[in-house]
Assembly symmetry: C2
Homo-oligomer: 398 residues x 2
């Protein structure tokens, strides 16, 4: 039998999805599974987007321009201008989700063996895209005790060597919910400028900033040739299946290179682009409602978690995730166990073991990532299940 | 300014799309451009697919399973069974177009430096996916004089060394329209079996076989662990923008590995999957009409081309492309010139220079790929424009 590639063997299974067979097992036993493992909100996609799809005029679903429909890119440039990011539509490349944006950007700017510094815990799939590009993610550990704030800037400086080519920031952060301040980002910009590094800024949760905090985009750091913005419609418009994202950068050499990768795959999804373009007309009220809903979900979830004996959960300032410390011997074992061996009133909970969000071995072993993306009634039930499970789990450490 | 990666520099611009700025230039002068450069048919997408989109029930456009919706995979397995390919839905992974299928398959099975043998001219974007995977495509040249039949099997044997890991076959072929016979494929299977090579079989044009010829799938070669089928809805249902393809293989190690790549990008497009699934109910009459239409287009185009002085065009047996020899010094120069410096009755033609479909340097320099995907009236006008252009072109070789 012919062989599997080294890269294929090295590819990490997604910690967010690898327990899917266990969840399917639970469902096949007739159990209700609350999905806190994945950022798949139950919030409705804006009506304007659904209507655009339902009113599809095209009789042929054609390829679009490899960089995405010009009409969409122009309207998206207006969106950015409205939130204080001054870009032209020619500085935008529409991708198949933020995922493809990351893949194109890594492949366009990094050579195998290059290093990119990243605060950990970080979005687990960065590991996968790093493996695909053959690069090394070098972590700087943020601590749950500090609410996952940016680690001291000296820690970044210490890691820079001739292989270092960039810094990844996810702001607000998936998986921690931490929102980086302008001051923190300026510190990173100074390093990037000094060592001529890229800043890969994943801002897909930009609209989800709570408690009066505002979002500061890396595009406004004054080092525009170094900054590459990764964006997506998935979270902003609760439209994850649309698979539409974007690369935004003033560095035209990067964009020209990324376009060659984009041409190879012909075009981003045409139906998704219709939804994405229409979503830009989503009324303000939609976001206000969604915002209020997430605040309520966050407050409920974080408070409920901290009330459980032995559980520690910082209050996230953005996005809709939180990293939670649990009183368990091994969170991956616990996450499997709760799906396969536990039920409470015929319900169980799926969570993402946090070790997959760290690259330092041994970290996150007693942590999980929870996405508070379900409606309050479901979150209430899920928290009860989790509390009961922690009491029943054989590997409980309390 | 930070640097572009080596891979980014090496990535070929798509020969199918790299002249887009010249076409945009022609359009901006008010000229009608006939697009023979790209396999974007003007055939309507089946009504069942468009209706499924227009009747979208979902209120949230959610991620799907990373391998694609189970309902779709099950129905697709039935489609394969109906055409004599016996696969289970668990042997199918839905991808974002055939493009992503190729990327996942190359990355899952090949290491940088590995070699894959491929009859040339071949689909140009294979070069791009090979560059992304760091592998080498080793060409066996098929000749226009032979109608692009499979080169003698000794030619393949001569190229096999310890780095050789597979053979790519596109059947029917894009860009030549050649349809490989069962006998030709069996010869390849013998080599694959002997040297334990993968056969990457791109069968996205399976439904387009003319003149009573039937398609023989590599899945039925009796070496099921070695065969990986690449598929797509783009051409079959004239639905290129849907961006839905598939990897089909009985080799579960390959599929499990590809799934890790698939998990990293979360899911294939959800709206596209709805269209793809509905397309499987396309009535037989649709295909009969489309078939008749393509036969007419092919016959018209090939005859019209061969009537032009100095033009040579074999009769394709499948797909909807043909490689055409033109009496020009350099077909890339000609393709640019016809867009930027020529018009006939305010019309011009976009074609794909064929050199990008060869990997042997110097080949295809007087050839273009033409996709006969437009309605007869448009093809008629395009052929007149081409004939006039060949007479006017300063680099004419006759």
């Amino acid at each position: 039998m012919p062989q599997i590639s080294n890269k294929g063997n090295q590819m990490p299974a997604s910690p967010i999805r690898k327990l899917v067979p266990f969840a399917e097992g639970a469902k096949s036993k007739g159990r209700k599974v609350y999905h806190l493992n994945i950022g798949q909100p139950d919030i409705k996609t804006p009506k304007v987007a659904l209507d655009a799809i339902r009113n599809l005029k095209e009789e042929v679903i054609e390829y679009s321009h490899s960089a995405g429909n010009e009409s969409y890119r122009r309207k998206l440039a207006d969106y950015y201008k409205n939130i204080g990011i001054d870009v032209d539509y020619t500085e935008i490349l529409i991708t198949t989700g933020g995922s493809e944006a990351l893949l194109f950007v890594f492949q366009s700017t990094l050579n195998p063996g290059d290093e990119v510094i990243i605060p950990e815990p970080f979005y687990a799939n960065y590991n996968a895209f790093a493996t695909m590009a053959g690069i090394k993610l070098v972590p700087v550990t943020a601590k749950i005790e500090d609410g996952f704030a940016l680690p001291p800037i000296e820690k970044f400086n210490e890691l820079i060597n001739e292989k270092t080519k960039g810094i990844i920031v996810c702001n607000p952060s998936n998986p921690t919910g931490y929102l980086y301040s302008k001051e923190e980002l300026v510190q990173l910009a100074e390093i990037a400028k000094k060592h001529d590094l890229y800043i890969y800024s994943d801002e897909v949760y930009r609209e989800f900033c709570y408690d009066g905090h505002t979002h500061f985009s890396a595009m406004n750091l004054g080092i525009e040739q170094n900054v590459i913005l990764i964006d997506s419609v998935s979270k902003r418009y609760s439209s994850c299946g649309t698979r539409i994202g974007a690369i935004v950068t003033k560095n035209c050499e990067v964009l020209t290179t990324a376009l060659k990768f984009a041409q190879a795959r012909l075009s981003p999804p045409s139906l998704g682009q219709i939804a994405g373009e229409a979503s830009l007309d989503t009324p303000k009220e939609y976001f206000e409602e969604v915002y209020a809903e997430y605040i309520e979900r966050r407050n409920f979830t974080v408070n409920a978690l901290n009330k459980i004996e032995g559980v520690v959960c910082p209050m996230p300032k953005g996005a809709f995730y939180t990293i939670v410390r649990l009183p368990v011997d091994n969170s991956e074992k616990f996450c499997k166990w709760i799906l396969s061996d536990f039920e409470y009133n015929n319900q169980t909970v799926m969570m993402a073991p946090a070790n997959g969000f760290y690259s330092t071995p041994g970290l996150g072993l007693d942590e999980v990532r929870i996405a508070y993306v379900l409606k309050i009634e479901d979150l209430e039930k899920a928290m009860v299940v989790l509390e009961k499970a922690l009491l029943a789990y054989p590997g409980r450490t309390l």
